[in-house]
């Protein structure tokens, strides 16, 4: 009976995970690769990654120190110029999102545990397009991934550590 319940639950979670994994088209084709090649650090744009729960998505003023109207280099795509001209936030679509019943703190993983961003978010330095789908699975498979790493690093797998 337990196995049947697990199979049914697995299917339900899997289907819901599949439904949430549609590709999302971002408003601007931001190339992480070009920016990482200049040795810009992740936290410079995702400013909450070291001291907050959420890493955050950069605001328009992260782009304007370099991408300016009066400057031919670096090349600024016209769609980005529109947002800069209007001083309007780019409507990025959040791709990596922990479910509501999961507490994930970037601070504990980045600043305390010292885990590199690429460990979870993949080979960002070679990406020439922004994220359109999450790098890690949702549902049971996602939790298994977390638990595997917690076991490997000998950190607690207590339910209440993440499900608060």
């Amino acid at each position: 009976m337990g196995r049947i319940t697990k199979v049914i639950a697995g299917w339900a979670l899997g289907l819901s995970a599949l439904a949430s994994c549609e590709d999302k088209e971002q408003p601007i084709a931001f190339p992480h690769a070009k920016h990482v090649a200049l040795k810009m650090e992740c936290v410079s744009c995702h400013t909450g990654a070291r001291d907050q729960t959420h890493a955050g998505i950069p605001w328009i003023h992260s782009c304007t120190p370099c991408h300016r109207l009066d400057r031919p280099f670096p090349k600024t795509p016209p769609e980005l110029l529109e947002y800069i001209n209007a001083v309007k936030e780019i409507p990025w679509l959040q791709v990596h999102r922990a479910p509501r019943h999961v507490y994930f703190s970037h601070r504990r993983h980045v600043a305390v545990a010292g885990i590199d961003c690429a460990e979870c978010h993949g080979d960002v330095q070679s990406m020439d397009r922004p994220f359109s789908r999450p790098m890690f699975p949702a549902g049971q498979a996602g939790m298994d991934r977390c638990i595997d790493c917690h076991r490997k690093e000998r950190v607690t797998t207590d339910c209440l550590a993440c499900h608060r």
């Binding site: 009976m1 337990g2 090649a37 200049l38 040795k39 810009m40 650090e41 936290v43 410079s44 744009c45 400013t47 001291d51 907050q52 003023h61 992260s62 304007t64 120190p65 370099c66 300016r68 400057r71 031919p72 280099f73 670096p74 601070r107 504990r108 305390v112 545990a113 917690h150 076991r151 690093e153 000998r154 950190v155 607690t156 797998t157 207590d158 339910c159 550590a161």
Partner: protein, 213 residues
């Protein structure tokens, strides 16, 4: 009793017996199922899968150490501004530099974690005293700087403040190459107090040689 009445009675008996059998079978199965659940609850627990709750790494990871952003003061505000306004995009986290500026004469944007030396502050006490002066949010005067090199410190402070507020062009390594990224002007977005906080934060990044002399 007639033959048909007997047959009917037997049919009803069989129907009743079948119904009773089905009823007790269902009840029996339910009892078996609940019994299984009760046995399982006594012999299984999520705790079986919880590991490493008392490991050293768990203790460190789950400790309630203070979050730097919750500190107050000029240095904390400066740290916050440095990150969120965008200084770290070019000058690197903690002012350590290393970010490439294409065709710039020095190759990378300048590091800013030696600001104390740039302001001729060579003692930790002098840096701490200068940070206290910058807390006021006003442009400091020579008399406020407790250092024998106070005029030079103020002159360097003014130079740094001007670069932040008014920008600075970047020199080209290859005259025929692409223009490097200049230091933009921040006077529209930063107040004197903000500039002082950022300078205070950069001063706090200075590392000191703690080895005994």
């Amino acid at each position: 009793m007639t033959h048909s009445a007997v047959r009917l009675e037997r049919k009803i008996d069989r129907g009743a017996r079948n119904l009773a059998a089905v009823f007790f079978a269902v009840v029996g199965l339910l009892l078996v199922f609940y019994g299984y659940l009760a046995w399982r609850s006594l012999h299984w627990s999520p705790l079986f899968f919880i590991q490493n709750s008392d490991s050293e790494r768990s203790r460190i990871a789950l400790s309630d150490e203070p979050v730097p952003a919750l500190e107050t003061g000029s240095v904390a505000r400066g740290r916050d501004l440095y990150l969120r306004v965008g200084c770290s995009l070019c000058h690197g986290l903690e002012g350590k530099g290393g970010v490439v500026n294409p065709n710039y004469v020095n190759g990378t944007f300048p590091a800013l974690n030696q600001m104390a030396e740039r302001l001729f502050l060579y003692e930790r006490e002098d840096v701490d005293a200068t940070i206290k002066v910058l807390e006021s949010g006003e442009v400091p005067e020579v008399e406020e700087i407790a250092s024998p090199r106070a005029p030079a410190v103020i002159a360097q402070y003014q130079s740094v403040k001007d670069v932040i507020l008014n920008g600075n062009p970047a020199g080209k390594k290859d005259p025929a190459g692409v223009p490097p990224i200049d230091m933009p002007d921040w006077k529209e977005r930063l107040s004197i107090r903000d500039v002082n906080d950022i300078i205070a934060y950069l001063l706090s990044l200075q590392t000191w040689d703690e080895s005994p002399k």
